[in-house]
C-alpha cells in the first residue's frame, strides 16, 4: 500500500485510447458501474483522474461520495492489455475547459481505435454521455488484467 508510482510506460498506457470502466459499491456491498474517459496520471504519479458523465453515472458517483471505494479498469481493445487500479476516491470536482479538451481528445482516439475493430463512431459517442465530473483517486493496488494465465496478478 502506498507504494504505487506510475512509470512512463504505465502513464502512456493509462492515457492512451483505452476503454475505462469504474467499479463502486454501496453500503450493502452492491456493486455499481460507470464508464469513464480521459484517464490522466497526476504529477505525484500516485493519483489518477478519470472523467465520468453525470448523465450516465447511475449510483456510481453517490457511492464514491459515500465511501470512496473505487476500482478502475483500463483496457486497450486492440491488444486486450488491461490494468486494474484499486484505491480510494479523494475528490469529485468540476471539469475545467482544459479538462474538456482532454476528454474530447481521448474520445477521438477511442473512436478511431474502436473503428479498427468495426465499432461505428456514433456507438462510441453514445457511450460517453454529458456533464462530466472529475474523479480523482489514490492508487493502492494495481493488477494485470490482461486475459490469460497472469490475469488478476498484482503488479
Amino acid at each position: 500500500m502506498g507504494t504505487f508510482l506510475a512509470d512512463a510506460d504505465l502513464t502512456a498506457f493509462l492515457q492512451s485510447g483505452v476503454a475505462i470502466v469504474v467499479g463502486t459499491r454501496d453500503r450493502r456491498l452492491a456493486p455499481a458501474i460507470a464508464r469513464a474517459w480521459g484517464g490522466r496520471v497526476g504529477d505525484d504519479r500516485k493519483t489518477v483522474e478519470v472523467f465520468v458523465a453525470q448523465s450516465h453515472a447511475g449510483r456510481a458517483l453517490d457511492n464514491l461520495r459515500e465511501n470512496g471505494c473505487i476500482a478502475v479498469n483500463f483496457c486497450l481493445p486492440l491488444t486486450y492489455r488491461s490494468v486494474q487500479l484499486k484505491g480510494r476516491c479523494t475528490s469529485i470536482g468540476e471539469v475545467s475547459e482544459s479538462d474538456s479538451v482532454w476528454i474530447e481528445r481521448h474520445l477521438d482516439t477511442f473512436v478511431a481505435i474502436a473503428g479498427q475493430i468495426g465499432i461505428p463512431p456514433h456507438v462510441i459517442r453514445n457511450l460517453a454521455g454529458l456533464n462530466f465530473v472529475r474523479v480523482a483517486f489514490q492508487v493502492d493496488e494495481m493488477f494485470d488484467q490482461t486475459p490469460g494465465i497472469g490475469a488478476g496478478k498484482p503488479m
Partner: protein, 450 residues
C-alpha cells in the same frame, strides 16, 4: 425485472461489444473487469463463462450480488443488469454451446487445450436499467427479407441433379438471394481427421484442396462438435485470443507450408459463421460464411443459413445414394494416337503422401493425389482418355472409402485445382458419371518411392 426486458435488448447478448462486470469483496473492495460475452438464458437468467478461478469468482462466493453493464451494438445504448449469483454448471447443452464458441476462438489463435471453459455461472437478473437515452440515433437496419430469399435458394437447389451444380448453385444463391457473398464449402475426409475445401465463392482463389484439421479453428470446431459456430466480432475475438497467447511462451514454429493449399480468407474478416452439414447424425462437411461486416451473422442469419446447410446436406446424401444409377458401361477405350506434342510436362508423385507435382509445382496430395496419379498413369501407359466414376469407385488401389459422395467431391476439387493452377492437364465432364482427361503437353511420369 420486467418480463420482456432482456428479450428487448437481445442484441446486447451477442458479444459484439465487451460487457463489464463489477463484484465486491467482503471487505468492501470492488473489482471490475471486462467480459467476453453474457448469454441470455431466459427472461430472468443470464450465464457468464468462466475460464479462470479469478477475483470475480472469489468475490461471488462470499457476496453473490454483481452488476454487469452491456452495450447494444447498433445504438450504443447501455444497460446495467443487477445480478445475483445462483450456481455454476459444468455440463449440459448450455455449457457445450459456450465451450464450442470459446474453443473455436482459442483454436483459431492456436490456443487449444490451454484455456478450457471451467463452468458457466448462472445469475438471476434482479434489475435491468437503461443507463441513458442516446444522444445520436441512426436509422436501424431492418431485418432483410430472408424468407423470400430462402425460398429462392431452396427452389434453385431442387433443380440440381449433380454434386457440382449443387454446390456451385448453393454458394452462388447464398450470395444472390441471402446476401452472404463470401463462402466456403468443405467436406470431411474418410478417416474423419480433416476437411478439404471443394468450393468457395467470393474470393480471388477457390482454395480447392485446402485442408482444415477437424477440431482446429472455427471451421474445424463446427465439424468436430456438429454445432454451428458464430463469431460476431472476429477482430475482437482474435485480439482476445492473441492476448491470451502472448501470456504464454511461443514455442510454435512455422509449419512447413510447401504441400499446403491455403483456404482463401477475407483480408478484413469481421464476422464468421460455420455450419456443419449433417447427414443423419454424422458430419459430412462444413458450410462456412465470412463477412467484412461487423456482427453480420445474428440469430436470424444463423437460422436461415442453417436451413440452407441442412437442405444442402440432404441433397448431397440423396445424390450420393443415387450414384448407383451411374452408367456401368465401360467407356469406349480409345487408344487414340496423340498428335506428337513439342512441350513436355513432368508429373512427379511422392508415394509417401501421394502428393503430385506438375513441373515442380505442388498440385494435390492424399486421396485426390492418388486418383489423379491413377488417371495420368492410365492416360500415358494405356492411352486412355475416358473414365467413369464407377470404375474409380471399384478400383481397390485407390483405397476409396465406402462413403459415396466423396469420390465426386474429390473429382470436383481436382478439376478446380487443375484449372486454378492453369495446369496442362484437365478433367472435363463428358456426361453423367463419366469424364475425359485432356493434356496440352506430352506427359512424363516419375514416381518417387517413400
Amino acid at each position: 425485472v420486467n418480463k420482456n426486458a432482456l428479450r428487448e435488448i437481445a442484441s446486447c447478448f451477442e458479444g459484439a461489444i465487451p460487457a463489464t462486470i463489477c463484484s465486491c469483496a467482503p471487505d468492501g473492495t470492488p473489482n471490475i473487469t471486462f467480459l467476453s460475452i453474457v448469454h441470455m438464458l431466459d427472461d430472468e437468467h443470464v450465464g457468464l463463462s468462466h475460464q479462470f478461478f479469478n477475483k470475480t469468482w472469489r468475490n461471488i462466493m462470499s457476496n453473490p450480488q454483481v452488476q454487469v453493464m452491456v452495450v447494444e451494438p447498433a445504438t450504443g445504448r447501455q444497460f446495467r443488469l443487477d445480478l445475483w449469483y445462483q450456481r455454476t454448471v459444468d455440463k449440459g447443452s448450455l455449457f457445450e454451446r459456450m465451450r464450442t464458441e470459446l474453443d473455436a476462438v482459442a483454436s483459431q489463435t492456436g490456443m487449444s487445450d490451454r484455456f478450457k471453459l471451467k463452468g458457466v455461472d448462472i445469475y438471476r437478473v434482479c434489475g435491468c436499467e437503461l443507463v441513458a437515452e442516446v444522444a445520436i440515433s441512426v436509422p436501424l437496419a431492418t431485418d432483410p427479407a430472408y424468407f423470400a430469399g430462402l425460398r429462392a435458394v431452396m427452389s434453385a437447389l431442387t433443380g440440381c441433379t449433380d454434386l457440382e451444380s449443387l454446390i456451385t448453385t448453393a454458394l452462388d444463391r447464398l450470395d444472390r438471394d441471402l446476401g452472404f457473398p463470401h463462402s466456403h464449402l468443405l467436406m470431411v475426409d474418410e478417416p474423419g481427421e480433416r476437411l478439404y475445401a471443394i468450393a468457395s465463392h467470393g474470393y480471388a482463389e477457390s482454395g480447392a484442396g485446402a485442408e482444415v484439421q477437424i477440431g482446429e479453428g472455427i471451421i474445424g470446431i463446427a465439424a468436430q462438435r456438429g454445432q454451428p459456430v458464430r463469431i460476431g466480432n472476429m477482430s475482437r475475438s482474435l485480439a482476445m485470443g492473441r492476448a491470451m497467447r502472448d501470456s504464454l511462451e511461443r514455442a510454435e514454429k512455422e509449419r512447413c507450408r510447401e504441400r499446403e493449399i491455403p483456404l482463401p480468407a477475407l483480408f478484413d474478416v469481421r464476422s464468421q459463421l460455420a455450419l456443419p452439414l449433417l447427414a443423419g447424425d454424422h458430419v459430412i462437411g462444413v458450410l462456412n460464411l465470412q463477412s467484412d461486416r461487423w456482427d453480420h451473422f445474428g440469430p436470424s442469419e444463423e437460422t436461415v443459413a442453417s436451413a440452407v446447410a441442412q437442405h444442402l446436406a440432404a441433397a448431397m446424401a440423396l445424390l450420393g445414394a443415387d450414384s448407383g444409377a451411374e452408367p456401368t458401361r465401360a467407356p469406349d477405350i480409345s487408344h487414340e494416337e496423340e498428335p506428337r506434342r513439342e512441350a513436355t510436362a513432368v508429373v512427379k508423385r511422392y508415394a509417401s503422401d501421394d502428393s503430385v507435382f506438375i513441373d515442380r509445382e505442388y498440385l494435390i496430395k492424399g486421396v485426390a493425389g492418388r486418383i489423379l496419379w491413377k488417371l495420368l498413369r492410365d492416360y500415358v501407359r494405356d492411352r486412355r482418355r475416358e473414365f467413369t466414376n464407377r470404375e474409380l469407385r471399384l478400383d481397390a488401389t485407390l483405397q476409396l472409402p465406402d462413403y459415396k459422395d466423396n469420390l465426386e467431391a474429390r473429382l470436383i476439387l481436382l478439376r478446380r485445382r487443375l484449372e486454378e493452377r492453369r495446369s496442362p492437364v484437365r478433367l472435363v465432364r463428358s456426361g453423367r458419371g463419366h469424364f475425359r482427361v485432356q493434356a496440352d503437353k506430352h506427359l512424363v511420369l516419375e514416381e518417387i518411392a517413400p
